[in-house]
Symmetry: C2
């Protein structure tokens, strides 16, 4: 690592929020903008949101802190994919309407007059946690983003694993039960089909349909379309037996997925991020137990399984770190 | 890559055979010794077999080719594990009697007066195929050794993936069917439990016990303890419907495991090695089909799934390549 450069920008383009950060090369956050993604309003709308978000933090930091745009060495952006880093192209973003074959790097370079570096969103989150978060003292880690789907990022000896065509770390699509539940990707038995928020809700509703009783009925006022993962966790905390069973099963599926990834990659740390981690020990304790039960002892015995430390910022921080990585500064 | 050094030695320590090679730094084989491992006769016996095997090729090459031992820059050895590369220690080798905490590197250095470099056996095979075999034109590959168990080796950007504690690439212990068949490792549902030679035989015998008819009964003369994978493949080639179903199922499990590893690592190539690949198209055709059906399109579409090209030599060639890798010559 050489001397810290002046400033870098990191943008996390999510289906829900766009988070933009201005950071020093040492990793301090000096400017932040976040806005809900107008994901359904088409490609151009979201693109202008990104541009406006970045312009706003650049203008603010110039006005308030006297930071000249000349001292900004580049902008990293974490985007959903599949995408091509070399081409700077988003092939397809399932949660952003109209995002098919978007030359994101070219567009942002034109609008912002900055060097632009593209990274997959979950890879960026993993890099962010490695640089400034839960993984800052380790060199080999795996991050799982637990949300509507399950994404993944893999850091090996301090570098993001991209694979041959930038599709690596699709950990949510490891098959943990061949022939099992249908996943959003169309295949059967993926980890995501069982342990994502979508999977949790599906399994809860299936149990209700089978006639299982639960205080969740009151929580959703018998309107089951209102069920959320958070409600299931809350009900589990209150001792609801169906919800406890659902949480235990979710932890078991996650533990099995983590066991497989640990057997394959032998990381030092597995970081869980996303809404589900708010459940705390309720989920982490059984996840750790099932991971240990299902992985080879030599691979798992020293692995830490921990929550992300940068909460909503890990993706944008990792996007900023991408600038340093690609320019050889980190 | 710098100029090729003089000579290197590679040893593949297997539960069945010890293969030793003398190679030029460019990868030509100039001496070879192979002998059946006296695996049950204790640690010292196998150790002296290794030493004698290496001494023999060194003496022969000196006598016949005038190769001085001074021009040999080191010896690489691929060993079963778990092991520690840094410590040069074999923690435990399940198929070698008495191999617990064996300081293999120190022992061989004392006996052979050469720099010794330790590598995991399946990692060595992957490196061998990358250097001189099926993977010589790609930088990212995964190798599966299909035998009594299923081992794995992973090459990322031309380097062996070791993980934090040298246990990476235990691909046979990815869980493909949680709660499923018990594996040799004691866990349930591992790829190895289904698709190893052991798994194939177990599933065949289970079908026979269920009353399925097969020409295998004649092949083993109704002594089912004589069943082998090879007999199942031969019967499948002859059109035996039970055997065909077993082979198809084996290919399906392998395809599912390959799909998971492709989703996680996005390699350019998956190489299968071991006895099972003798079945040729009978196994490769359905394996490719099931891998494509179960992996994400963006990850699998350009992946080649091919047999190992170096047959019984890939481990020893990779062990030799380890010398070049560790000394910065490759």
């Amino acid at each position: 690592m050489s001397a810290a450069p002046d400033y870098i920008v990191g943008v996390d383009l999510g289906g829900t929020n766009i988070v933009s950060l201005l950071m020093t090369g040492k990793g301090e956050i000096v400017g932040r903008d976040t806005r809900p993604t107008l994901a359904k309003e088409g490609k151009d709308k979201a693109l202008s949101q990104i541009v406006n978000s970045v312009k706003r933090i650049l203008e603010e930091s110039e006005a308030k802190l006297g930071i000249s745009s000349k001292s900004i060495i580049g902008l990293g952006i974490g985007s959903p994919g599949p995408l091509s880093i070399k081409k700077g192209l988003i092939h397809f973003a399932p949660n952003l309407a109209g995002w098919t074959n978007v030359p994101l790097v070219d567009i942002l370079r034109d609008k912002l007059a900055l060097p632009i570096f593209l990274e997959n969103d979950a890879n960026a989150a993993a890099l962010g946690e490695w640089w400034r978060g839960a993984g800052k003292d380790v060199d080999n880690l795996v991050l799982l983003t637990l949300g509507t789907g399950i994404g993944g990022g893999i850091i090996i000896q301090g570098e993001v694993l991209h694979g041959a065509w930038d599709t690596a770390a699709e950990i949510g699509h490891m098959i943990i039960h061949e022939g099992g539940l249908v996943c959003g990707c169309g295949k059967k038995g993926c980890l995501e089909a069982y342990a994502s928020a979508t999977g949790v809700i599906k399994r809860t509703l299936a149990a209700i349909r089978e006639g299982k009783k639960s205080i969740l009925a009151d929580a959703v006022k018998n309107r089951w379309e209102n069920i959320t993962c958070q409600l299931v966790y809350k009900a589990a905390e209150k001792g609801d037996s169906l919800s406890r069973w659902i949480v235990e099963e979710t932890a078991r599926y996650l533990g099995i997925g983590i066991a497989s990834i640990v057997n394959v990659l032998n990381p030092e740390m597995v970081i869980l991020s996303g809404g589900m981690i708010a459940a705390g020990a309720l989920i982490f304790k059984p996840v750790r137990k099932y991971a240990r039960e299902n992985a080879l002892a030599a691979a798992i015995e020293r692995v830490e399984i921990v929550p992300a430390a940068l909460s909503g910022n890990s993706g944008a921080i990792g996007a900023a770190a991408t600038v340093l990585k690609r320019t050889g500064l980190l």
